[in-house]
């Protein structure tokens, strides 16, 4: 069985994890246009090489990030999302001016 190291729980069988998609910083929803938002929500780079991805340890529902080489399927490192996000992402709303 292939192993993946969860930053919270340590090495676990890969069957305990769920893939969560490519990691991209969310654009500001108040400044982006529909095309950019659709790019963020629906489309993926699908790059050949080292990419950063979301993974979830299913048994603890712990979401974290992994750097993985998509050519060799080697996981370079896994790390907590707190390395990227220092605070909860707030969705600020601009009041309708119309």
């Amino acid at each position: 069985m292939k192993l993946l190291t969860c930053p919270l729980n340590g090495p676990r069988n890969i069957s305990e994890f769920t893939y969560g998609g490519e990691f991209h910083l969310m654009p500001d929803q108040n400044k982006t246009d529909a095309r950019q938002w659709a790019e963020y929500v629906f489309f993926h780079d699908n790059a050949a090489g080292v990419v950063t991805e979301w993974w979830c340890h299913t048994a603890s529902t712990f979401w974290f990030l992994a750097e993985r080489n998509t050519i060799t399927d080697q996981v370079i490192r896994t790390f907590e999302a707190s390395e990227v996000f220092s605070q909860r992402k707030a969705f600020s709303v601009i009041e309708d001016q119309a």
């Binding site: 729980n9 299913t58 048994a59 712990f62």
Partner: protein, 227 residues
């Protein structure tokens, strides 16, 4: 006559095995299955259903701060458990998530108190009594039996008392907590309540080659009292 006492999801399994029940608080637990060998069984390898005992949980960035203000002692890091003054067990599942399990004798008073309170800022209640079933696997052969159904090494020298593993047991996501009864190894297993019968059957099946089987809480009491 209909009883209002809380019964386990595994009640039908217990009745079929000839269980004698006892009332603890407002719940029914299996006291024994009528065998005179249950203590010896529990020391070797046994399965116990604790699903009707009180338990609760709290989650959120303010959860540990709020729980501390309520007199709860917090384990120093995630995946550790800590025994409380009222003999309940606080399991820290992540930086900001706690699971609290009652003892049998006495039943925890703290759990009911915390459940009835308004929680602090950035703290969310996470009721666990109906979401999870709660089994205990006891005995010297428990870790070896687990190696058939769980990928984490639970042998005593690798998995210390009060260690916690959130992992897969018989392909069901589970929380495993080692909480020894005196000198007897004991592992709590909590999994989604919808998998209660599945997990019970899987563990009974895995125990067969070690002559393991179900016992009641009377045996747990004896083992805990032996120290």
């Amino acid at each position: 006559m209909t009883t209002l006492l809380r019964r386990s999801q595994l009640s039908r399994r217990h009745i079929a095995l000839g269980a004698e029940f006892e009332q603890i608080g407002d719940t029914l637990l299996v006291s024994n299955y009528g065998s005179s060998e249950e203590i010896a069984q529990a020391k070797s390898l046994a399965l116990i259903d604790l699903s009707t005992l009180p338990r609760t949980g709290f989650k959120g960035a303010g959860a540990t701060t709020w729980a501390t203000s309520q007199g709860v002692k917090i384990p120093e890091r995630p995946n550790l458990a800590l025994l409380q003054k009222d003999q309940s067990l606080v399991v820290r599942l992540s930086y900001h998530e706690l699971l609290i399990l009652s003892n049998i004798d006495p039943l925890s008073t703290q759990i009911e108190r915390l459940d009835s309170m308004a929680v602090g800022p950035q703290t969310y209640t996470l009721p666990r009594a109906d979401s999870h079933c709660w089994l205990a696997v006891t005995g010297s052969q428990a870790a070896e039996m687990f190696s058939k159904v769980c990928g984490v090494d639970l042998r005593p020298h690798k998995f210390a008392n009060n260690a916690v593993a959130q992992t897969s047991v018989a392909k069901a996501s589970a929380i495993v907590v080692r909480h020894d009864l005196g000198t007897t190894h004991c592992f709590y297993v909590l999994t989604d309540v919808s998998a209660a019968e599945f997990l019970w059957d899987c563990l009974i099946d895995a125990m067969l080659e070690y002559d393991g089987g179900p016992v009641g809480v009377a045996s747990m009491r004896e083992l805990a009292a032996e120290g």
